[in-house]
């Protein structure tokens, strides 16, 4: 597309990058068709092509963000389905990242939105605070209905609704080195995550058991923090970069101690962000190269397992509906590996229709955009239930909580099923 930036504007490397991205878009409209928000709302402003145009106009004119533009950018799930579809290779992810930072800097949200966003940014990325908040939520749950009726407090009512009724006993993987069984063949670091160990500690347990069982030494490093994805998607750039730098330091320390073959991520949402550290920190001279190294090491757990050549297992007579998280299929472009692993492990795999569409979880989306999120959840659950599978497998904690709240079919992380197939105990809830 034609762009209209002055040389002064292009001197800003962020604007220059966005310009390059915009130039690639030929406005063909293919991406509209696979964008979940366009599919449910039917308005081009809620499609990738529309958002790209809104962003282009805002940036070209060097304007502060306006309500109309913010509304439609806020509705973007960052599912990146548009990037999988785009034949022209438009890097929508980094364009919308830039737009979000611009919005955060130039737009004053109404007070209640600011409050809700601050609460999210201050709790979710910190497991201890998150756990505390969920505990409090348990006590406050009876108030949810009431809160939702007060427009000002609506978001908090929704957050209470989403908090699980009972928390699993905490046995989150502690910082330690988990030795490989047999001759060690590799050494990896495991990102235990922030929300995940609180909501489903079983996932990390299963990952450690499965990897060590295959001769892989697993390091859970002390001091590892949130990957930064949540705040990154809210346009809180500094907070996100701080998180990234912190983790880069932690993992490179592990690497220096005794070498590191991979950084294993069990939540694909986090994986997408960690794989982007190199890009996020490209303008930071002290971190650019280090961050790129960390990004290169980052692997989704299924991506890594696929390189281990796990043995074939007898069929178990259990059908699994595999739900590919957006961050998995679009963000990291990992499509076949999880399904192949499940098949090899003896499960029969079914793929729900409209697999490219988001379930509506999308980080904090289900809190901030509850109506669209609910529509997408209902659609996803309908497609999954149509497969008549015994169990749902997926690779992202956000999808697990979202889908679990809409169906009776048990839902597990893919590694929980794999761990079971390769000697672990039967997953809880199956």
């Amino acid at each position: 597309m034609q762009t209209n930036f002055s040389p002064e504007q292009l001197a800003d490397p962020h604007v220059a990058e966005s310009e390059t991205i915009l130039r690639k878009c030929v406005h063909c409209g293919f991406c509209t068709a696979t964008c979940p928000t366009y599919v449910v709302l039917g308005d081009e402003l809620d499609s990738p092509r529309g958002r790209i145009y809104l962003i282009k106009d805002m940036l070209e004119n060097g304007r502060a963000a306006d309500t109309e533009t913010v509304t439609h950018i806020d509705r973007c799930l960052s599912c990146l389905s548009c990037m999988t579809t785009c034949p022209s290779g438009v890097d929508y992810m980094h364009l919308v990242d830039h737009a979000r930072v611009h919005i955060e800097k130039t737009y004053k949200r109404p007070f209640k939105d600011r409050l809700a966003r601050s609460v999210i940014a201050a709790t979710l990325p910190y497991p201890s605070r998150f756990r505390l908040a969920l505990g409090a939520a348990g006590l406050a749950r009876p108030l949810a209905g009431l809160l939702k009726r007060v427009p000002f407090l609506r978001t908090f009512g929704i957050m209470l609704d989403l908090a699980p009724a009972a928390l699993p006993v905490s046995r989150a993987a502690r910082p330690a080195v988990y030795a490989a069984k047999g001759t060690p063949r590799a050494r990896v670091a495991l990102l235990t995550g922030c929300a995940q160990p609180v909501l489903r500690p079983e996932i990390n347990d299963a990952t450690i058991r499965l990897l060590t069982g295959q001769g892989v030494e697993v390091v859970v490093s002390a001091g590892e923090g949130c990957c930064g994805a949540l705040v990154h998607h809210m346009g809180r750039e500094e907070q996100a970069l701080q998180a990234a730098r912190h983790n880069v330091d932690v993992w490179l320390k592990v690497a220096e101690e005794d070498g590191l073959d991979a950084i294993i991520v069990t939540a694909s949402g986090c994986g997408t962000t960690i794989k982007d550290y190199g890009h996020m920190l490209r303008l930071d001279p002290t971190y650019a190269e280090k961050a790129a190294r960390v990004s290169a090491l980052a692997k989704d757990v299924t991506e890594y397992l696929a390189t281990l050549d796990l043995p074939e297992r007898e069929p178990r007579g259990l059908t699994v509906a595999y739900h590919s998280a957006c961050s998995m299929q679009h963000g990291q472009r990992i499509a076949a590996a999880p399904k192949q692993l499940l098949k090899r492990a003896g499960f029969s795999v079914r793929e729900p229709a409209e697999g490219h569409l988001c379930c509506g979880s999308a980080g904090t989306y289900n809190i901030l955009q509850p109506e669209i999120s609910a529509k997408l959840k209902a659609r996803k659950v309908r497609n999954i239930e149509a497969t008549r599978a015994d169990v749902i497998a997926t690779g992202n904690i956000g999808c697990i909580t979202q889908i679990a709240s809409g169906t009776e079919i048990p839902i597990l992380h893919t590694v929980e099923l794999l761990d079971w197939a390769y000697g672990g105990s039967k997953p809880v809830g199956l």
Binding site: Q2, H27, C28, G29, F30, L45, P87, S88
Partner: protein, 479 residues
């Protein structure tokens, strides 16, 4: 970029009433169906023909036929122009608005209403995408045949507007051959129905007139289309040639011999490289031209048809022949082809031409096209429906460079004139839109155009529907 094609001058009376009009439309439609904010209108200023842009007065996104009728009735009362819009993938600027127009977008009317496998028909709202129809009936062994490369996104309403075609139209025909009926709103809000599930309705064949009418005769809100049973098997085969000319004459000979495969698609070297980079379809990279020929039927039928085609290709010195070995490979071959235009965006901006020529002229026109574009100091990539002689030279240029942009447009005009001179026509399937409007006189006599305009006026006496398009601004009947 300097614009050489003009739009109608906006009606001042309409511009002056903007606020009232917006307020009235707001009253007529449910919440969320009106866009009037300047920021929100901006993304609607163009379609896939991005060289031209015009802001609309407002955009409405009705949810029902009744709402479309209400809006049209209102607009006709106040003399407000209307621009219908499907997915906005038009390559000729058919959906580009104008300053005094209301864009009526069909994107919220995207439900499949009825699938009748017994009668092999589907009835859908106009905003349903082309591919959605095939997806909905695929498990039952059917598909909707016309398959524009944009089928993922373009709507059936837009397909009717442009009488769109696609790779598989060689065997199954274009939109007009597969459309059975429409529900349509006329300029004054009257709702009419044409055709139906039966193959041939009595009376005038107005459906044929509607197909390709570029939103000027009414707004289609529902369409009934024919479904076709999938063949037992289908196999795309890649034929690589050392020159574009030999590939071109091979196509002419295949069709000349009476063999009608499902599709014959052509790509030259630049196009092959662009598509391979995106789709990794396994196209040969060491050839100058590639034909994708698809055959279908039982294994025996496919083998026998292929044998005939291979024989002809050998006579034209084919270098490589590669049959797809799996459904996945076949899907990738088509994915690469169907993404060709979009994927071109990886290397340059482009104008996509759409002329049709007799097959005997294919080689000649291809060679002249290359010369014309080179003469303007630009590059070209060719990827098109060769079996139909429907050429799509993509003129590559830099849209941020006004001089290059002007040269690209001139080269395009020369190519279209070349097609007409070669005995072909200005448009194969992308429509006239704004792009080819002023070239219409090159193809048609004044009497031809007057007759067409007469038909148009019978449907829309006030010329309110998409008025800047199709017919040159001079020579129109006085309003």
């Amino acid at each position: 970029m300097p614009e050489t094609i003009g739009f109608l001058k906006p009606r001042q009376a309409v511009l002056d009433r903007r606020r009232e009009i917006v307020a009235d439309l707001g009253d007529l439609l449910p919440e969320g169906c009106l866009i009037s904010d300047e920021r929100g209108l901006k993304p609607f200023e163009t379609d896939a023909f991005i060289a031209y842009r015009r802001m609309p007065l407002a955009v409405v996104l009705p949810e029902t036929t009744e709402q479309v009728a209400t809006v049209l009735k209102y607009c006709s009362r106040y003399g407000i122009p209307i621009v219908p819009r499907g997915a906005g993938t038009s390559l000729s600027g058919g959906a580009i608005p104008q300053e005094d127009a209301i864009v009526v977008g069909l994107s919220k009317m995207a439900r499949i209403l009825d699938i009748d496998l017994f009668n092999r028909t589907a009835t859908v709202q106009a905003g349903v995408t082309n591919l959605n129809i095939s997806d909905a009936v695929s498990a039952d062994g059917f598909f909707y045949a016309p398959d524009p490369s944009s089928q993922l996104a373009c709507t059936i309403g837009g397909n009717i507007g442009m009488n769109s075609g696609g790779a598989h139209c060689l065997k199954y025909g274009v939109t007009t051959n597969n459309l059975l009926g429409v529900k349509m709103v006329l300029f004054d809000g009257t709702v009419i129905e044409l055709g139906g599930k039966a193959l041939d309705a009595s009376g005038y064949d107005l459906l044929g007139l509607i197909c390709g009418s570029e939103g000027q005769l009414g707004i289609v809100t529902e369409a009934t289309v024919r479904l076709i049973a999938k063949a037992e098997g289908a196999r795309p085969v890649l034929f690589g040639f050392a020159t574009s000319e030999s590939a071109g004459s091979c196509v002419a000979d295949i069709i000349g011999s009476g063999i009608i495969p499902v599709a014959i698609e052509f790509m030259d070297k630049p196009a092959i490289e662009i598509c391979e980079a995106f789709a990794h379809a396994g196209y040969p990279l060491d050839v100058e031209a590639l034909l994708i020929v698809e055959v279908e039927g039982s294994e025996a039928e496919m083998d026998s048809m292929l044998a005939g085609i291979i024989g002809i290709a050998r006579r034209h010195g084919v270098m490589t022949i590669k049959e797809s070995q799996s459904a996945l490979e076949a899907a990738l071959i088509w994915k690469g082809r169907k993404s060709a235009f979009g994927a071109t965006g990886r290397i340059a901006d482009y104008i996509c031409m759409d002329g049709t020529v007799p097959l005997s002229q294919l080689s000649h026109v291809l060679r002249r096209t290359g010369e014309i574009v080179a003469g303007y100091g630009l590059r070209v990539a060719n990827v098109f429906h060769a079996g139909d002689g429907n050429m799509h030279p993509l003129i590559l240029y830099n849209i941020n460079d006004p001089d290059e942009a002007a040269r690209a447009e001139e080269a395009g005009n020369d190519i279209l004139k070349l097609c007409v001179e070669a005995g072909g026509c200005l448009t194969g399937e992308h429509g006239v839109g704004i792009e080819k409007r002023d070239l219409m006189l090159f193809q048609y006599s004044k009497a031809d155009l007057d007759q067409q305009m007469g038909a148009r006026a019978a449907f829309d006496p006030q010329w309110l529907l998409n008025p800047s398009k199709v017919f040159p601004l001079e020579g129109r009947p006085a309003a």
